[in-house]
């Protein structure tokens, strides 16, 4: 593993792993406490439509996926506001339509040469310098938002009706959380792929939630746990020549299993 560190692709992979894990820990916490897990899953799959569109038009993949994911987030925010009781149906619909659009655009692209698997299961070893800037920039925005609007985000997440009564624009913060989730999902696609992204956003958070007594602590701890899982998964992936995304998720699941077992033994 040590000799691998001299390769720039490995350095990129490690930096990307850390950046994405921290972002996933923070945003995953918000997704879990706001009960938006299914919603984040919908956004992740919808963004495949953006990947297909970007391939077809020859645009940067990140740009296409980001635009599509943010579009899906805004649509879901709007629909949630209009009709909260049917939101699961709409998410299911957006989820499938987004993927279908992606598949059709890839079909239409002459000289099809995109490795579909790399978007479904991640390609952390193919992270470019440009990708790292994008990930770092997004993490900076996320940190800025959660530090300066912590109280509002906490109030909206814990009890949105009450937050509204105290004069907080709950719609704005709900939409903001959704947009940040969409962008986090996009960068996490690079690391674990869009099918596995939900596990990355929820497993470390689930462990952290049990160990924290504040939202801030939960975000911080989730980020740390996610980083540990990602780097361990990356090591497995490199050492045994396995798909990186799947290795990271299985390491996370094993970590969760150990945590639950330890908890059971303790009580």
């Amino acid at each position: 593993m040590i000799e691998a560190l001299q390769f720039s692709f490995m350095q990129h992979a490690i930096i990307a792993g850390i950046l994405v894990s921290l972002a996933a820990g923070i945003i995953g916490s918000l997704i879990v406490v706001n009960r938006m897990v299914f919603l984040a899953g919908g956004i992740a799959h919808t963004s495949y439509g953006g990947i297909g569109l970007a391939v077809f038009l020859g645009l940067p993949i990140f740009l296409g996926a980001s635009l599509f994911a943010v579009g899906a987030a805004l649509l879901i925010a709007l629909l949630t506001h209009r009709n909260r009781h049917r939101i699961d149906t709409f998410i299911g619909l957006i989820w499938a339509v987004g993927m279908a659009i992606g598949v059709i655009f890839v079909d239409l692209t002459p000289g099809y040469n995109v490795d579909l698997m790399s978007y479904l299961f991640g390609s952390i070893l193919a992270v470019t310098t440009q990708d790292l800037y994008f990930m770092g920039g997004l993490l900076a925005i996320i940190l800025f938002v959660v530090v300066f609007w912590y109280r509002q985000i906490l109030a909206v997440s814990y009890d949105s009706e009450y937050a509204q009564l105290r004069g907080i624009n709950t719609r704005f913060f709900y939409t903001l959380i959704l947009i940040l989730s969409a962008l986090t999902v996009v960068i996490a696609i690079k690391v674990v792929g869009l099918i596995l992204v939900i596990a990355m956003l929820t497993i470390p958070v689930y462990i952290a939630e049990k160990l924290s007594n504040s939202l801030f602590g939960m975000m911080f701890l989730s980020g740390a746990i996610a980083t540990l899982f990602t780097l361990t998964g990356l090591w497995f992936s490199y050492t045994f020549d396995l798909t990186s995304g799947a290795s990271i998720i299985l390491v996370s699941a094993a970590g969760l299993g150990l945590f639950l077992l330890a908890n059971r033994l303790k009580s």
């Binding site: 814990y158 009706e161 009564l165 105290r166 939630e209 007594n213 939202l215 939960m218």
Partner: protein, 276 residues
């Protein structure tokens, strides 16, 4: 003569096609301990949301402290229904209380010293200051409800509105909550939605029965509603049901109770229990 703090005139409200409240007239006066009762789906929660300005009526007018509800929100303390949701949420008691301050002027990030002092003050007022750094999920239902009351008090409200504050709380906890409310009633108006008729009758001075329309009863004279023909003073639910369900309360006395056949009495009691 007390001043009105909440005035509702000719109010109607419908969710899409379904008319929930029709031609409501209601006045809550300063320092009232005002209870709202009625069957599920009768419009109790809708009425509260209208008073809080979370919903807007299609017809009629609501004035809270002489202004539209949205403009009086900073003078209203609100304790929402069901505090048993979200108990996994990683949040400390003090942070929940500090939420009462959100929206007021505040430091760039974190919490101000004055805010924390104020939050500790209201926690002491409800007897929960020892639990300030506990996780909210580790408290009992009654303790959690006290924290929610503290959060509402954080805004120094003139009106305290509670939606079923004692649902799923043990009898001792319920009694303590109402004693606390009675004490708070010395300085502010209390408006409470509840199913606990026996408790309400002990503490409230007015009761509104909400079921599509509203019937208000002044019950400040407690002697009228207590049974007097038994050694231990107790409440007769049947009498109350009759009294609250009918427009003509003055006809409802203990004699009326005696006229009912035992069958009807037990039937009414059974229905009442089921409604609960």
């Amino acid at each position: 003569m007390s001043r009105p703090v909440i005035e509702i005139k000719n109010l109607s409200f419908a969710y899409e096609d379904q008319l929930v409240l029709e031609d409501i007239n209601l006045t809550v006066e300063e320092r009232d301990f005002f209870a709202i009762i009625g069957p599920n789906g009768g419009g109790k929660s809708t009425l509260l949301k209208l008073i809080l300005g979370l919903l807007t009526p299609q017809q009629g007018e609501i004035r809270v402290l002489g202004k539209p509800p949205q403009k009086s929100r900073d003078k209203i303390g609100y304790v929402p229904q069901n505090t048993n949701i979200n108990t996994d949420f990683p949040i400390k008691v003090i942070e929940v209380v500090l939420m009462g301050h959100v929206g007021e002027r505040k430091p760039l990030f974190g919490y101000g010293k004055d805010e924390i002092a104020c939050a500790m003050g209201v926690l002491a007022q409800v007897g929960m200051e020892k639990f300030a750094n506990e996780k909210i999920g580790s408290l009992s239902g009654g303790q959690r409800q006290r924290v929610m009351i503290a959060r509402a008090l954080c805004a120094h409200p003139r009106i305290l509105i509670l939606d079923e504050p004692t649902a799923s709380i043990d009898p001792q906890g319920q009694k303590e909550i109402y004693e606390l409310l009675e004490q708070l009633n010395q300085t502010m108006t209390i408006l409470v939605v509840s199913h606990d008729l026996s408790i309400i009758l002990k503490y409230a001075n007015k009761v509104a029965h909400v079921n599509h329309s509203v019937v208000v009863h002044d019950i400040s004279d407690k002697s009228k509603i207590f049974h007097t023909h038994s050694d231990t003073e107790h409440l007769c639910e049947i009498e109350l049901l009759q009294m609250l369900g009918n427009e003509s309360c003055d006809t409802c006395t203990s004699q009326k109770d005696d006229q009912l056949t035992p069958d009807i009495k037990s039937k009414n009691t059974k229905e009442w229990r089921e409604n609960r």
